[in-house]
Assembly symmetry: C2
Homo-oligomer: 152 residues x 2
DNA sequence: TTGACTTATTTTACATATAAAATTAATTTC
DNA sequence: GAAATTAATTTTATATGTAAAATAAGTCAA
């Protein structure tokens, strides 16, 4: 008694397994290469990327939203970035509860080098996709992403 | 001075951002729903799924390979599953270094319930994808996945 | 102004992941 | 068969993530 619903479910499971595989494989390669060549993990890279986009800095809350992780997580992450000399935290004058995180000059420099490694490794990973394949995948993922934001 | 390579790189970055977004959003929804309804995280669910496929059990190394995580990680994970009463570990007769992990009856039962939740939530997540969209996405990801395994 | 929220952040307890060292048992080599 | 090597697993130190409680500062209503 198999029907169209079963085949749809099979496709959904397969889709998700591929997303998991692709994510794990590419994330792992990026992480290993960046750690080895620049001593910056993907997590730290993502945080540096946000701070790079906002030269005046971001509050802890804003950074936490941008990275889609909890406030508590960002507390520890920025503390580690400070210890690495890549970022700094300054207390707001207006609101003494609030802290602004921003890149240090060294953070900016290290991020730029990490970005080059990131792009190189990502390019290598996506080599197997032809231009039309990439465009096609981009389209489906874009639609899925838009849909996810709507369906809540 | 922009050329075809720049646009390719832009597409690669966009593709990766979508993979990250889709992964984080769906993984988060699965994790929250399964924890709330069955008290089983996605990590534990994945481990239970492997043990479910192999009723005779898997060695710690085999499980670690199947899950694509380190041996040390699986040590702790199986210990937590044991504490939950979902799995058990028995020492091999032939090789006293080796341990076989397998599901308990309760583990089997709880996994089946978690699978239903998993499928329901995943279906809801992928609702925005039409059948052709899903097939298309599946095709691109399959090609990328195959490619990743070759390029090493 | 004081008492009740709300907001920004950190802390705590825990789960999940890695890499590298340690442990313990099996295997090979001489 | 003792010594060296290999193999299976665990332990340790650390990074990364969550949820929930704690802290501390701002806001607002009475």
């Amino acid at each position: 008694m198999s029907d169209a619903g079963d085949s749809r479910r099979q496709d959904e499971r397969r889709f998700w397994l591929y997303v998991l595989d692709v994510h794990a494989e590419i994330y792992g390669r990026l992480n290993r290469a960046m750690k080895a060549e620049t001593d910056i993990s993907v997590t730290k890279f993502d945080a540096l990327a946000q701070l790079y986009r906002y030269p005046d800095g971001l509050t802890m809350s804003a950074l936490s939203e941008a990275l889609r992780v909890t406030n508590g997580n960002v507390s520890g992450l920025v503390a580690r970035l400070e210890k690495d000399g890549l970022a700094e935290r300054t207390m707001s004058e207006q609101d003494r509860r609030s802290f602004t995180a921003r890149l240090t000059p060294e953070g900016r420099e290290r991020f730029e080098r990490a970005l080059a490694v990131h792009d190189r490794v990502l390019s290598h990973c996506l080599d197997p996709l032809t231009e039309p394949d990439l465009a096609e995948a981009l389209g489906s993922l874009r639609r899925l992403n838009a849909g996810l934001k709507i369906t809540g």
